[in-house]
Amino acid sequence: MLSNFHSQGILLFSSPSSIMSLGWVDSLLVIIYFLFVLGIGYYLMRFTKTGDDFFMAGREMTAWIAGLSFVAANLGSLELMGWAASAYQYGILATHWYWIGAIPAMLFLGIVMMPFYYICKTHSVPGYLKLRFGEGASQLSALSFGFMTVFMSGINMYSMAIVMKVVLGWDINFSIWVSSLTVMVYVVLGGLLSAIFNEVLQFMLIWLGALLVPIVGLIETGGWSGMVARIHQNFPVGDYTHLWRTMGSFQDNPMGIHWTGIVFGLGMIISFAYWTTDFLVVQRVLSARDLRSAKLAPIIGAGFKMFVPLIVILPGLLGLAVMPGLVGEKEAIATGAHSYNEVLPLMLARYAGPGLLGLGVTALIAGFMSGMAGNVSAFATVWTYDIYKPIHLKIAKTEGTDAHYVKIGRWCTVIGVFISIGTAYLVQQFASIMDYVQALFSFFVAPLFGTVILGMLWKRATKAGGFWGLFAGIGSSIGMWAWVKLDPSALKYIALSPYAKDMAENMYRGLWSWLICVAVTIVVSYMTQPKPESELVGLVRGCTEIPSEGDMPLYKRPIFWAAVILAVFIVLNIIFW
């Protein structure tokens, strides 16, 4: 999920000169990284022959590979820098997006939803909708996902180029072209297999490159208690180190959000929508080699996700302790001071010596590339299978060969990368496009979850119900967004408080649009004829036989590990209450 870092437009940084410069050792590490990722693509090309190889990585990934790739595809570099900045701005509250805003949803995907996605052998989430609700809902979701994915990829690309310019002084064009063409080459060569292999490599690099900051930072501050003491000393007003204590009122916390928005909006709708229906992440799990691996992959991913705050939130909190002078973007531009958006590279420059700086920068580049590879590989799959294939069938009156679809997939990858590059340059010219595209992306997420979850769990949901529910959810989300844009006082109705901030508004808008989608789907379904149960086998709970795990030892069962992760999640929330 995206942080508010993105929504602050392209004026992400204010410093006139670069924050750090790389020595030859650092540059060597970056060059070696690029050679490795291209080498992986070249090596895997020979194993990518069929459509299943290219789009689904041959469906032979282990639970660990699929799980790490599942998390890595979401762990973009702007995600790292954005949430570190949010932690500096809002304190530990930003952790909600990693814990309640991710863990329950990932476990739900693994235990409840994955069996249906996996057993029906779909290539994509819109593909599942086609099997369950027919062409209408599937096309609506495929088109919105296809376009928004590459647009978002372009926005991230441009933001990343700005980061590289400010942090390292790199030319914007150089950053855009070198990183995106590298991603294009290795995804065109090896498809999803190459994307997944590289994501696992990138995941390791992100951890080993970023973990340095919290370790040395805690040594400097004298551990957790020393860090908290310094934060209280630097900021006597405001609570930056408790997760739930300040959530009783909109005005008591810097995020301007109430616990109901976090629990019901973020925890129950937005996070479930993103982690269970965004094909960018779900595609990684669909590549698992069997149902048990597919169920375990999101659970393994949840285990790692739970500890990502160590490399993202903790550096932001340490920044509050050791660099209290960072300011907001507008003030930074006016005074020339450093902005809190720069907190992660500033902390890296504070602690990283020769080579370690290069490792940290490689981690940021790896984060960007894993996010972009996720976007373009998901785009290629959805475009080839859910948009191109039905059109080809209609025009040619016959199915294309497997080799034909692989060729189209490769072309879609190239086209997707070039649309992303085009979007990056468009954003450079018209900054406001960024905000509109992000808003557009948010319109589809919550209602899609309503449609998919009813499709999986409720036999009575009909084709018309699915389509009109999704349509009404998306329409109402756009309507609420436009209402607040035209009349800001409407915020008190949408977000339940005139003091609510952007994030709170997004949470509540997601909640309402999901409820509207569900309500319309139920009403229309009762007014229309359902499919016979024989057509719902493999798609819906109650009509699908899910293989039993009763004969497995307890420690091999996904449900056992889901319970362990859930227990750790609850304990962590209590510790940092």
Partner: protein, 75 residues
Amino acid sequence: MVGRHKISIWFIIGSLLLTYGIIIFGANVYDWFSPSQTHSIVLGELHFGVWWGMLLIVIGLIYFIAFRPWKKQAA
């Protein structure tokens, strides 16, 4: 995971970490004895780069040896 592929992803990760570890360890040992004046860092006296380089070498070696492709071929 190896699957149809002769080279496991873990072996590739091991190779990269080993390479990085050797470079970072070497650069920081050199910096320890000939410190550069251009880039001073907080807690630089702990020579964290040396220890981090060693950590990468150890992790890299474990993956490199455990998932080496010629082990499978020999078996």
